[in-house]
Structures are given as C-alpha cells and as structure tokens.
Symmetry: C3
Subunit: 230 residues, 3 copies
C-alpha cells in the first residue's frame, strides 16, 4: 500500500488497512490510524496524528446543477507540524492546516482554506471553500462555516453556529461574500450570521441571535433580528 | 471481495479494502473509492462515482423504545447514472438517487426516500425516512430533512435548516407529517420549520426564521415566530 | 487482526477489514460490520450490533490552545447487552452505553458519558464530555449535547437542538455547567439552551426557542428570548 513514490520520515506508525496514494510525503514521528485514506500529493509534517477512518486530500467534485464548478489543478493538502486530526473526517486538496491545529472527528474542510496556527476546529464542523481562519481561533462542534468568509485571530465561535454567503439564495445576482468576523469577537451557540455582515473586534453575539447587519466593535447583540443591548 | 453474485460493468475502478456483498450490480465506467462498503442487492448505474469510506445499502435497525419500527423486505438502494456520492456517507436500502444527483460527504439518507434528477444534497445532510425530494433541488450543507416531508422541484434550502414532523414530540396523538415545500421556494440558513407547515411556491423564508404556520405563495417571512414582511 | 489478548464469545460475526486492538472483550451473538476499528480494552456485551466503518474506544486528544486537557488513564468503553450502533460513528473511552441503547450513524460520544437503558441517540448527534443521560431518553438526529449536562429519564429532545456550557465563551471566569433537563421534559427542534439553565419536569420548549433562564415544571416556553405561554 505504500509504494516507492511515497516519502516516509523516521518513526512513522501506520495502522492497518491504510491506503496511501502516489507522491505523498510524511514527516517524522507521525501516527496514522487504521483504515485511513491519504490521497495523492498530500504533504504531512512532523509529529502529526491522524485518527482512524479519515480521508485526506480529496479532490472536489460536482454535478450539472452546481453553479460553482470546482477548480482543476489544485495544490496539495499541506498539514504542518504537530497537527492533530480526528476520526472519520474529510479534508480536501488545497487546504493548509498550520502548525499545531486541531481538527475533530466527523469534520470536513473544503479546498482553498487556511486554518491558522494553534486553532481548533471541533467535531462535526463543515468549512466551505475559499475561507480564511486566523490563529488561535476556536470553532466549536457542529459549526457551519460558509464559503468566502474571513475569521480573524482569537475569535471564539460557539457550537452549531451557522453562516451563509449568498443573499439571493442561488438566483445569481449577488457576489458571494460570507461574514467577516474581526479579532477576538465571540459568537454564542446556534447563532445565525447572514451574508457579508461584519462582526467587529471584541463584539459578542448572544446564543441563538440572528445577525442581519454589521455589529460595531465591542458591542453585544442578541435576539431575532439581532439588536445591540450594550 | 467481489464474488460471482456481483455483476460488474466495463471499466469499473474499485479501490482498496472495498467490501461488496452479494447480488450487487455495477454499471460501466464506475469509480468506487477505498474502504467502501456496498451492502447486498445495491444497484449502481453507469458513470457513478463513490467516495472513500462510504457505506451504501444499509438496512435500518431499531431498539425497544423506537415507536416506528423499520420495515422488513425493503427494496434495494438504486443509484442511477452519473450520480456522485462523497466520502464517509451512509445511504440506506429503498432509496432512489435519480440521474445526475450529487450527495456530499458525511451525509446520510434513510429508507423510502427519492432524490430527483440533478438535485444536490450537500455535506452532512441528514434525510429521514419517507420523504420525497423533486428535481433540481438544492439542499445545502448541514440541513436536517425530517421524515414524511415533500420538497418540490427547484426548491433551494440554505445551510443548517431544520424541520420536524411530530407536533406532540413522541406522545403519539398526531399523524406524522413533515413540512411541504412547494416549487421554487427558498429557505434561508438555519431556519426552523414546524410539522405540517406548507411553504408556498416561490415563497422566501429568511435566515433564522421559525415557521409555525403556512406561508402563502410568493410571500417573504422572517423572525421568530415568522411573520410576512412582503 | 484478532490476536490472543481478545476474548471472543460464541457466534460472533466479524466483517472484513476489521481491526480489533489488544485486550478487547466481545460477548455472544455480536455482529461487527466491515472496516470497523475497535480500540484496546473495549468491552462489548451480548447481542450487540456495530455498523460498518465505526470506531469504538477512542482516546481523547488535544492541542496547545485547548483549555480542558483530556484526562489520562480513562477506563474503557463499555457497551452493554443488546446495544445497536450505526455506521461511521466514533465513541470514546470511558463511555457507558447501558442495556438496549441505540446510537445512530455519524454520531460521536466523548469520554465520561453514560447513556441510560433503552435510550436513543439519533444520527449525527454530538455528545460532549462529562454528561449524564437517563433511561428511555430520545435525542433526535443532529442534536448537540454540550459537556457537563444532565438529562433525566424520559426526556425527548427534537432534532438539531443546541446547548452550551460556558457563559463567558472561553474567557475562563465561569464554572462550566451545561443545561439540566428534568424528567419527561420535551424540547422542540432547533431550540437553543444557554449554559446552566434548568428545564423543569414535563416542561415543553417550542421549536426554535432560545432558553436564557430556568423554565418551571410543566410550563411551555417559545420565542427568542423564550417566554412562558401557558
């Protein structure tokens, strides 16, 4: 299963029933679980841990109806040193997981995404394409991170938050733009963020709030629709 | 792993560690990923692509407390031509995926469900039993599609929408009925639909709205509880 | 794949590509699906059924930023008689699934959790650490059950409910406490429960409600923020 196009570091543990496709590179002291699939070209740094039954380096696919066709010739998935990835997760090509990132179980990250150093992406989180996540960000379990979104450093996103990037829901007359969450903002669980809203630095969004317009820095917003309370 | 009860078309690529149970039929030009499990009787058309670590053709199970016991002797899972299915997904017996359907990663579809031609079922979507989805429907990532629901052609459902089918939450005095979403309606992200509501043709439901009663055709509804705004 | 540290009961069916690590114990009449991974020390009772592509007995991991470091030397995962577990699920060490429990597909349960007799944990449910679930509880598909939560007997939780346990969202000045849901309470779909709220016995929470304070026994609460309606 490991052919001679694969570069293997020192002290690598590989589980049973693992498939490693061509041209994969694996650093030192890496642990790869059982029944893992690593697609061609994936680059894995030192000290990385991969849970069982996870797939790394997927190429995006589509059907006739999909407006946004996946790009061809994407660069490989790059997993930097000391990253930990859970079980039953699916991570695409052209993703960069920076040093020390943690990705939970049953999570999927699409292409054209960077997750910054030491950030946490919890269990069952879905990250869409073309989104940038800063350093030391926490994205808790069950969040949906839409495409074309920016999440700055030190942001905290509680469980099950949802976001979107298309004001006209598929009718095609809006340039796709996800929310922009500025440094150190905090989002409560199950909050809903509409397309293109900006959440200011250190702003706080209450649990279950629906954010339909920009939130100024340092303000707290709750309710549906969200209103500033202090 | 492929015994002589399996019918294999021309030009079929089968990954490593794949399990194909008895009486499966696979068309021409099919690609099956690594570590895939295909349960007995499954029917796969031409040009179908199956992601790694996916299970196809599951028989439902239950426990003592479950009100709705799964039916026996369900017909097989039928996957028509040019369907694409992601990684780590679970699709039950007695599902029909019509021509050109796209199913994302980490998605599960229960028995007695039809997904119409060219429709999209995104990543991490859960579809319950006895639900009918029309043609060219988009169900975005993270949606929960309850049982006994009807989704007509050209409907768009944004990410993380939730629905339910049991007004009395397990107390047993309501005939189960999910929402009915009429042709070309659009549902915003993280909206909540109560049992048995009808969303009229071309109606628009705002992100985060809670829909407690029927929405007339062409109307826009937002808020909690949802109210018509135009 | 099954070495001599594994204790195997009578009439055990083991699928293909299954990995069973050291010191696992398996009772009589157990069915283990294909491509399953069972980690060391796991204890499986009689009549248990495990779906394909599931991982049992995971040890928690973490990264530098995580406030709550996983404990070492956790006791094994214990699965009692007649438990059914779905496909592509991930269940940690130090979990107890009591007799007759049902766990759906694509579900994950963290360490230090007990699920009581005959309870149902639906598909794609995420249960966090240090949470206790009583007997005959129903947790429907897509729910997020936070850490440090108590769910008493006969509770019904509709699909996609969300909860949290940290009032200050990672700022560290609140003792973590999830919601407490008392006996026979019912929670509607996509409801949001804030940290440390108590839902009284037989209380009813409407679909999409946001619960910011305690709900008295027998009362019905709807809206955002939730208010008592009867």
């Amino acid at each position: 299963m490991v052919n001679n196009t694969v570069q293997l570091g020192k002290n690598v543990e590989i589980g049973e029933n693992v498939v490693i496709e061509d041209n994969v590179s694996i650093g030192d002291n890496v642990v790869i679980g059982h029944n893992v699939v690593i697609k061609r070209d994936t680059v894995i740094g030192n000290g990385v841990q991969i849970g069982d039954l996870t797939q790394l380096g997927k190429s995006p696919s589509s059907n006739k109806k999909m407006a946004r066709k996946p790009e061809r010739n994407l660069t490989p998935l790059v997993i930097e040193d000391d990253v930990t990835i859970g079980c039953n997760s699916v991570i695409y090509r052209n993703v960069q997981l920076k040093k020390g990132v943690f990705v939970g179980d049953l999570t999927s990250i699409r292409e054209k995404v960077t997750i910054g150093e030491d950030s946490i992406v919890g269990r069952n989180v879905m990250v869409e394409t073309n989104t940038q996540v800063g350093k030391k960000v926490t994205i808790q379990t069950g969040c949906y991170i839409t495409a074309d979104m920016v999440i700055e450093d030190d942001v905290f996103i509680g469980p099950c938050c949802s976001s979107s990037n298309d004001k006209y829901m598929g009718m095609g007359n809006f340039e796709h733009q996800g929310p922009i969450i500025k440094k150190s903002a905090k989002i409560g669980n199950n909050a809903t963020l509409l397309p293109a809203v900006t959440i200011g630095e250190n702003a706080i969004i209450g649990a279950g709030a629906v954010i339909t317009k920009d939130v100024p820095a340092g303000k707290t917003v709750v309710g549906n629709p969200g209103r500033v309370i202090k």
